[in-house]
Symmetry: C2
Subunit: 361 residues, 2 copies
């Protein structure tokens, strides 16, 4: 006599409770629930009416367990938030995309936002392995030694990383070509006669950082100029040390070119650093600044800007992830957008973007 006690006082009806109430078997209720045939009109109507009356909802976990499908669209941050700049603007934009592609279809959108330092051996992809996520957006750059993404890839669930990885070229991803961005930036400065070119970089240990150096070196190699790693300095959102780094890099008078590809987009601090080094952009130093917004200049005095269309790439990727999840296409996704180089003089300057969790500080 398994399953029948209607402990409906617990608040939740099961298909067995509905079945008993309707005088049918659980299977018939299941058929109605799933809109399958093989149930007479009257029986169906009666069951539907009971379901409506008692406000029946199927147990999503039990369904998933039996049917081997998971409940939510996952969103996960592969990097600690103090190492990687997730801006408020990007986050709002991402949430809008998730709404547009998944929310509208009635999917649950589930964030795994456990910080790393809270549990060092935690896996950012546990939502996948615990079989909670039916699909997953890996929202951020991947560490060069990332292994989780390999396991995600093998798991077979639809996913998209907003970043590439050398060690997994077949990775489902939507990103921009940072190698190209760095190459174009460096080449531009070389062609203007600069030979010692400094680079302000973020992403210690992340693939986008590696790609930046690769592009930088490639341009240098082509020009026959030796690579000097002391010309590369890392800054991040947390440290607010952009001005200091610029000052120190430009302390050497032979350094006459500066690439800011740090993603910090902090024009004021760049300017401050140059001022302290006694430099004047356009006169004794040329700057190339990276921007993530096509319309916004980071520094009006910059000799050039490079626009990295990360949102645009991500939008296409998430769109495709929606289709993959719906079974309308196969993975992996491979979206790679090229950066756009631009020497047009900009007039306005966008404010420095705010970090997502800055509100907490």
């Amino acid at each position: 006599m398994k399953r029948q006690a209607s402990d409906i006082e617990s608040g939740h009806w099961t298909i067995y409770d509905i079945a008993r109430e309707a005088g049918v078997s659980a299977k018939t209720v299941s058929r109605v629930l799933n809109g399958k045939g093989g149930v007479s009109r009257e029986t169906r109507a009666r069951i539907l009416e009971i379901m409506r009356r008692v406000d029946y909802h199927p147990h999503i976990g039990a369904r998933g367990l039996r049917g081997r499908h998971n409940a939510c669209i996952g969103v996960t941050l592969p990097a600690p938030m103090d190492e990687v700049p997730v801006s408020q603007d990007f986050f709002l934009w991402l949430f809008n995309e998730l709404y547009r592609v998944f929310g509208i279809r009635g999917e649950y959108v589930c964030f795994d936002i456990n910080p790393y330092d809270a549990s060092p051996n935690r896996d950012y992809a546990r939502g996948i392995f615990e079989q909670l996520f039916k699909a997953c957006v890996v929202a951020g750059p991947l560490a060069t030694d990332d292994t989780s993404i390999h396991r995600i890839h093998r798991s077979g669930i639809p996913y998209i990383a907003l970043g590439r990885l050398d060690s997994l070229p077949e990775c489902s991803s939507a990103t921009v070509d940072y190698v190209e961005g760095a190459y174009l930036s460096t080449k531009f400065l070389l062609e203007r006669g600069h030979t010692r070119i400094a680079m302000l970089k973020g992403f210690h240990g992340y693939q986008p950082g590696v790609e930046r150096i690769r592009g930088y070196r490639r341009a240098l190699d082509e020009a026959g100029i030796p690579f000097d790693e002391t010309l590369i300095r890392a800054v991040n959102f947390g440290s607010r040390n952009v001005a200091n780094m610029v000052y120190r890099l430009l302390a050497d008078p032979k350094v006459t070119g500066l690439i800011d590809c740090s993603a910090v987009q902090d024009g004021a601090s760049l300017r401050e650093g140059m001022r302290r080094a006694g430099r004047t952009p356009g006169k004794d130093v040329d700057v190339v600044a990276w921007t993530y917004d096509e319309r916004a200049a980071v520094l009006t005095e910059a000799a050039a800007h490079v626009w990295l269309p990360v949102r645009e790439a991500a939008a296409e990727g998430i769109e495709q992830l929606g289709e993959w999840t719906a079974g309308a296409r196969q993975g992996p996704i491979q979206v790679i957008y090229r950066p756009v180089f631009n020497t047009e003089q900009k007039t306005g300057e966008a404010p420095k973007p705010k970090r997502l969790f800055d509100l907490l500080e």
Copy 2:
């Protein structure tokens, strides 16, 4: 011979697979998984090693089904987004709070963002009834005819509504006293000699709207002034018709007081509407403007501001929800903050807040 076939090719190991590999029973594996006693050091170590080697993760759905607990912290929007102003700032703030209280503990934070118009008979609380949510934040005002909240309340899971409901006074909630806000606003204008006081209001059909009218009427009643409902006009974020409404309300020269409690915080449009009506604030019209940011004025020319500390109330409520979820306290939560009335002259004016999903337009 139930359960043993290790179709590990499917990618997911079960406790039975681990058990077979370790030469023990599934129960022993379960004990190790849950850090329970009754397993020898060696056995435990061996099982742990296998788990590590094969990267075992328990099936969160199966666990929940058996243990009768759910997987995620839910966040749900009880109102269609085009009727209720969820600002980007509030959303970012909310996400930060959820991170602080739940993310840090390793909880999944799961949004149900299905829009109503997409499925008219959808329930904003389905995540609770489908037993996906172990706790839930109902982020927005409740409709006066809301019934879901009653069922949520009865379900017994920890929840908090960021709004009250007349029909459920025991509702777990964190909100501000809109009755008081409207009462203070109206009384202030009455005391300055105004007798016909217009009100710009949002939230058609939602409890906060009802409370605004209640406070307004109470002040009028006390002063022995009859209530005239034509003095109340609704605006919302979508329609951008604030200027028009102000203009029409002030077309009647006897209307000399204006309360903007619409939550739109659009000083420029208020000013524009008054200008078109030929009015000058401080001279032939007095304005009381509501603000959701203590430091920010909506309209510098306003005779007074009323600050509604909704974020502050919500912060306390979410904090308590965290404790309730962790079993450290009982529900329901009852946080109610009083509005702060303020006639100080403001200098700066905050820009009009942007709606969360404006990016899509």
